[in-house]
């Protein structure tokens, strides 16, 4: 959603990924920087409420958001997207890690210290129904930030609120109406108006359109786009819909079980995803074109469900479902590293790139099962970058050498749970 997304996305190495880091607050500068961010929710049991474990909702995130850009965050339900959003807006206290806004560490600011910050960082919520107080008028709701911050706009609060209402495409005369008198799309506009009231720099939107009908989604997406252009806003947009995320984002972070597994500019991510999970996620999106039906050759089905964030798998968290997993994936967590300019990936055997652990040549048995759900064409592509997959794929329909191994294991249902 930047001025010219196309130009920004197809970059040569020199221009890409944080090449211009030092100026102050100009477009492209780092506005928000997150390091080692964690949030573990304790699980307590018994009379004494002893802590017996923790939900590792967010488990070590590193990323930055640059002024004027839109960072999209995708991932499946429960992977920690909303928790991340609430951490960077400081609605939640992190368990560990730091959040810097405009170069200032805001991780441990108290309410007083956060106060000026609250103007600059705003949040839009998923549910346009429950996020607005039904007993307050639109005027009260959108005007609340002025009161809370003790800001007296020129010309008075009412006038300013009415101006903002017209900015988001609502009728200023609706000032005295109540939320229930509006449709879902209009309510989401009220939420957006409230977020914009104090002219923030960063807006974190958690599933801003997923509760809306498709036709209304498009209205809200276009509105967010217009507002960014007019007001120079920076967005973090959290969504599970990969088509929406591609449409709105300049860069995209893919999360799995509390971690970022891939962070890349939009073009690279969608054209040549490097993390196997990203690839699987994208292949699962149904394409609205019946002619492509039956072209099942591209769809990667994943085995089973996402594991629990209470005891995530060791090493790479995706190793229980990944068709490329080798021993190192089980034992060693891959770091999120920039393998290509503008594309960071946490994987030992990335797709579309050189193998990072070529010495690993034996697939885990879980990976062999996972591979049964992966189309031939995908396996062959994977084999190009993974010695272990290559060994499996190239193995001719074996005659005598190793039938026992495969037979001894039940082909399915070995989900270790």
């Amino acid at each position: 959603m930047s001025e010219n997304p196309k130009d920004a996305a197809v970059t040569t190495p020199a221009q890409s990924a944080g090449a211009q880091l030092t100026k102050d607050a100009g477009p492209g500068d780092v506005l928000l920087k997150v390091t080692g961010l964690q949030k573990h929710f304790p699980i307590r049991k018994g009379l004494l409420q002893r802590q017996v474990g923790a939900v590792r909702a967010v488990d070590g995130l590193d990323f930055e958001v640059r002024a004027g850009e839109t960072l999209g965050v995708v991932g499946e339900s429960g992977c920690g997207k909303s928790t991340m959003g609430r951490l960077i807006t400081r609605l939640l206290e992190p368990t560990a890690g730091t959040v810097e806004f405009q170069g200032k560490d805001i991780t441990h600011l108290d309410a007083g210290g956060m106060r000026p910050m609250r103007r600059d960082v705003q949040m839009i919520f998923q549910d346009p129904y429950s996020s607005l107080n039904p007993r307050h008028t639109v005027g009260t709701i959108v005007g609340a930030p002025f009161r809370l911050q003790g800001v007296q706009p020129e010309g008075g609060v009412k006038k300013e609120v009415q101006r903002i209402l017209s900015v988001v495409g609502l009728n200023p005369e609706h000032y005295n109406r109540y939320p229930h008198e509006f449709s879902g799309g209009q309510r989401q506009r009220i939420g957006i108006a409230r977020a914009l009231a104090l002219n923030p720099k960063l807006v974190v939107a958690d599933e801003p359109v997923s509760a809306l009908d498709v036709s209304i989604q498009a209205q809200v997406v276009n509105l967010l786009d217009d507002l960014q252009q007019e007001l120079g806003l920076t967005y973090v947009i959290i969504a599970h819909d990969l088509s929406v995320v591609r449409h709105v984002s300049d860069r995209i972070a893919v999360m799995y079980l509390g971690k970022i597994v891939e962070l890349a500019d939009r073009e690279s991510l969608y054209k040549a995803p490097m993390h196997p999970y990203t690839k699987a996620l994208m292949s699962a999106v149904p394409i609205p074109d019946p002619k492509r039906r039956g072209v099942k050759s591209e769809r990667i089905l994943l085995k089973g469900d996402v594991p629990s964030p209470i005891s995530p798998p060791s090493g790479c968290r995706f190793h229980t479902r990944c068709w490329k997993a080798t021993e190192i994936c089980r034992t060693t967590e891959p770091a999120l590293v920039e393998l290509k300019p503008g594309q960071r990936v946490a994987c030992h055997h990335p797709e579309n790139f050189e193998d990072q652990a070529p010495q690993e040549t034996v697939l885990l048995s879980a990976a062999k099962e996972a591979a049964e759900l992966v189309p031939e064409a995908v396996l062959e592509e994977s084999a190009e970058t993974s010695a272990a997959v290559a060994a499996e794929v190239s193995e001719p329909p074996q005659e005598v050498s190793d039938p026992p191994e495969d037979v001894s294991e039940p082909p399915r249902d070995t989900d270790d749970k």
Partner: protein
């Protein structure tokens, strides 16, 4: 029970003639109206369609357009005092609207079954998944509990639940969302229904789980040759599953036809709007989406004439303001392809090729 004869196709007003006499399910001019404190809600107002064995009909539309009410109507689940149901529902040669409720109840679960968006609403929290599948099976089969339980395990295995003989004794809340959906599918399919209605079966699920479930439904359909109705608001899902497509707006069908032609040559402005509103992964990204202005209508006060007229950019094209006074009937616009719009064939063709198609 006297045996009425299925209405000749295309006879009652508002009925889109069908193609197939071999339809397994034929719905004719179905109307379901509810008396409420606010007024009469015309949730379904003259909808007709056919589904053949082994084929899938996709029903799409915005929320509140009448998709779920239509499907519950087919299942005979609208017999409450405030509901007025009329029209005909023919299932394998038998008419159900006028049929004895007990007879319809017997068919439900055996000949026709339903999968809902929210599995928790369809499963009882206090009984194990196995008990519920056993119950569903024994209603229609005179077998011992032991045999039925064996069948339940078999079905759970069939829908890809790991360790089915352990899981069969688990409670719904112990299952993840995707597994619950599988368990409900197992329950719906335990009697090998010939008609399966899936109402937003994957809307609450993640894409990767959705892919698993759609794959499962497709496989089972292939295996049993069932007729399937797939209700969704996701055009991607219908494109993947449906042979035929029915687009609903304001309780009525505004366009229907073979999925391929509805996607490649849509003929109703609302369908254009749906396609334009949606970002697509399979295309170069567009700078802007083309939303439909305004919001969906209230089914109590549907706009006069074409219900879509307040939101339609072309409402002034048909002459004499007819769009705002006369309700357009479905007319044939291509092979087995019908649309309800006052514009002429030429006008629609021109707008589609010049204005809409290039922007999609």
């Amino acid at each position: 029970m006297s045996k009425p004869v299925k209405a000749a196709l295309g006879e009652p007003a508002g009925v889109a003639p069908s193609d197939a006499d071999d339809a397994f399910l034929s719905v004719r001019d179905l109307r379901i109206h509810f008396n409420t404190d606010d007024g009469l809600v015309k949730s379904v107002d003259g909808v007709s369609f056919d589904v053949r064995r082994g084929k899938t009909l996709g029903i799409v539309g915005e929320s509140g357009s009448g998709k779920s009410v239509t499907s519950l109507g087919v299942m005979g689940l609208h017999r409450s005092a405030n509901a007025k149901v009329s029209g005909e529902v023919w299932l394998d040669g038998q008419e159900l609207i006028a049929a004895d409720p007990d007879e319809v109840r017997r068919l439900r679960g055996r000949k026709m079954a339903m999968i809902f968006q929210d599995p928790l609403s369809a499963m009882h929290p206090y009984y194990t998944v196995g008990q519920q599948i056993v119950e569903a099976y024994r209603v229609h089969h005179d077998v011992s509990k032991k045999v039925a339980k064996q069948r339940a395990v078999e079905m759970l295995d069939r829908v890809g639940i790991p360790e089915p003989n352990k899981r069969v004794d688990g409670y719904p809340h112990e299952f993840s969302g995707g597994m619950r959906q599988r368990a409900m599918i197992a329950m719906a399919l335990v009697n090998n229904p010939e008609l399966l209605i899936a109402d937003e079966p994957t809307t609450a699920l993640d894409v990767t789980v959705q892919a698993q479930i759609l794959d499962l439904i497709r496989d089972l359909q292939k295996e049993f040759g069932s007729a399937v109705i797939m209700i969704t608001h996701d055009l991607g899902v219908v494109a993947e599953m449906a042979d035929d497509l029915l687009v609903m707006y304001g309780g009525r069908c505004v366009e229907r036809g073979p999925a391929e032609s509805v996607f490649s040559e849509p003929r109703h402005p609302y369908t254009w709007g749906l396609l334009g509103s949606m970002p697509r992964l399979d295309r170069e990204e567009t700078d802007r989406l083309i939303p439909i202005k305004g919001s969906p209508p209230s089914l109590i006060n549907l706009p006069e004439g074409c219900a879509f007229n307040p939101r339609c950019p072309y409402a002034d094209i048909p002459k004499d303001n007819v769009t705002r006074t006369v309700r357009p009937e479905l007319t044939e616009v291509g092979g087995r392809h019908w649309a309800a719009c006052h514009m002429t064939q030429e006008q629609r063709q021109r707008i589609w090729t010049e204005e809409i198609a290039p922007k999609l």
